[in-house]
Symmetry: C2
Subunit: 366 residues, 2 copies
DNA sequence: TTGAAAGCGTTACCAG
DNA sequence: CTGGTAACGCTTTCAA
């Protein structure tokens, strides 16, 4: 494959320098309209303006009209900051995900955001980069920002973070994982059980020699659980996963290629390779082809997540479907319910399902 | 391809109901520590506490230590809301993208967010769903939230939005596009020129019969520009794109398949198909294979964006590389600079480059 | 260098 | 049902 860089494009063109000094604090553009202005224009009190704007009951129809009129006329835009300070509710919800480059999280956040928008909340987003310390800092930061609720990924983190959350009384929800601790609400699925189901399927096909290209398990309970699930299945049949047939790699296509390459030089070659997610499986599939190994005839390969491309690979990928969009949406539902004082189920399991496609089959004859 | 749903998973398990009423306004958990508390503990004024916490110069060393100590001891966490109200700066930046499901935007936002984090800003995220009205509403919403700056995608929108932005004095930047209007800062590349370059490359190979599977151009200046670029190249050589060989489709793999299917039944089959992005090209590639058409021998196919999978398709995809991560980061740089009153180039071009891989070649002999 | 006090724009309590 | 008026927690003049 040749990659010809045909043009590099000027790196930076300073066609013009924008040098306008920032609007100085305390001297805003004239545009700013406040409740006081509206109140004056409508000849009512600021209290009434506030009540009208927040759809309080017990407001006279005449007064309501006057306020609405004045508000429209002046082009009033409420100041969410002041509102938050006064009401101690920001109508803001935070989300911390490892990275948006992993499409799973992007889709999950998208689902969350859509639901929040519908409910009148705005999303504050932070990335942890799979680093617990960074996640802790992000939690503090977002709490400081006054978020009314917080969406997290996974359940594995410093207990101090949970303490902080409880101490500040900030509703939160763990996602993409399923635990039974009612003090840690979650919406997700059982990664371990799903992985076990997948491995059992392969075992039922007759596979005995397994290889695993897992995600990096350090600080990642989802990746750990998936690996544990595979081990569960093997152990139940008296099998084990040799150390040399377990590879841990970041979720990148190239890493999947690397992983399979490593597995192919093992003493005993696996007949089935379970990958931590579809991206790794994508890479493994590519490498198998490059090595002249036919899938699934000589080697079965599985993924996890059912990404958009999974069904379109060659051969199509056997994987586990996870309703990421729905997880985000339900996390939003949960948080909004809790924030608004409504009851909500604490442990929310979403369905995951084994999707059998062409990348898996019976093992080759010995 | 068979897709066997092996297990559906219980849809909702209300293992426990969390019914704790929301912390009532005006009665927070005891945890809340304010500057006043710190001031009292350190036996100084709140003004001094504020100065220390904001690294003001002109603060005595002794006083600084006392404040820091007290602050640590009490576990003080600044209230960003109050801070924003008092200082008229929220240290918050908004971003509005069509959707995070499109990996391009996700990566761009990721790049932005990383840069913002480093600069001490937090990201407020909204989605427009490719709908200008929704985008306008999001702009208002985020301005109301007091964002110090705003990242937008593309440059095509109601002039009123620009007026609003100027009126409120909120710095903003358009991304993934390049214009020469110094009143509308941008960081991106020339989609039209890049697409033209791509089409020229195909023309140079000898192609004369083109097909295009564009993204939906309505309200999307990037998609429009890419299409225009292809037309530019054709026109320059006295060629035209017949209406029936132009398909517009959302950025989904399945839509790319649909697109190619439609092109294959044209009166004159194209020998080269230019796709609006890599996702559409992915689909086109799949469909070509399904139709028994070999790429690139019988048909050349190109993408746009150089997504992570592009180099790994079969054959690898000829496309245009765009530094999405960098665009996000530089958008962040620009906004932060403007917010902090520093000069910054208004028109920022990032390099895009033609990446020639195996999906393109000379047209088949007639 | 430090302190006192006046806001920032909104909400919510308390009277009427 | 409506109006006055304290907060909300912090920053930032203005004086000392």
């Amino acid at each position: 494959m040749r990659e010809t860089s045909a043009e590099e494009g000027r790196t930076t063109v300073a066609d013009a320098m924008d040098d306008a000094p920032r609007r100085r604090a305390r001297s805003r553009p004239p545009g700013r309209v406040t409740v006081a202005d509206v109140a004056r224009a409508a000849e009512v009190s600021t209290a009434s303006v506030s009540r009208v704007l927040n759809n309080h009951d017990r407001v006279g129809e005449a007064l309501r009209r006057r306020v609405m009129d004045a508000s429209e006329r002046l082009g009033y835009l409420p100041d969410a900051t002041a509102r938050a300070l006064a009401s101690d509710r920001s109508r803001t919800i935070g989300a911390i995900v490892p990275t948006l480059e992993n499409q799973s999280f992007a889709i999950c956040v998208d689902g969350l955001q859509r639901r929040l928008e519908a409910a009148g909340y705005t999303l504050l987003l932070a990335n942890s980069g799979y680093d617990p310390d960074k996640e802790s800092r992000a939690v503090k930061e977002l709490i400081g920002r006054g978020v009314d609720g917080l969406m997290l990924v996974g359940a594995l983190r410093d207990p101090k973070v949970y303490d902080l959350l409880r101490g500040k009384g900030v509703p939160f929800v763990n996602t993409l994982t399923l635990t039974d601790d009612v003090r840690r609400p979650c919406v997700g699925f059982d990664n371990r059980a799903a992985a076990r189901r997948l491995a059992d399927y392969l075992l039922d096909l007759g596979h005995r020699e397994f290889g695993v290209i897992a995600g990096v398990t350090r600080d990642n309970d989802r990746a750990m659980a998936r690996l544990a699930g595979v081990r569960d299945a093997l152990t139940a049949r008296g099998l084990a996963l040799p150390q040399e047939r377990l590879i841990e790699r970041p979720y990148k296509i190239g890493e999947g290629q690397y992983g399979l390459r490593a597995l192919l030089v093992c003493q005993r070659r696996p007949t089935a390779v379970v990958c931590g997610n579809d991206v790794l499986a994508f890479g493994a599939l590519i490498e198998a082809r490059a090595a002249g190994i036919s899938v699934p005839e000589q080697l079965s390969i599985t993924g996890f997540d059912d990404a958009d491309f999974a069904a379109h690979l060659n051969p199509p990928l056997t994987t586990v479907r996870v309703p990421l969009d729905d997880i985000g949406a339900r996390a939003g539902d949960f948080l909004v319910a809790r924030i608004e004082g409504r009851a909500a189920p604490v442990i929310n399991e979403v369905p995951s399902s084994l999707i059998v496609r062409g990348s898996t089959g019976v093992p080759p004859a010995p």
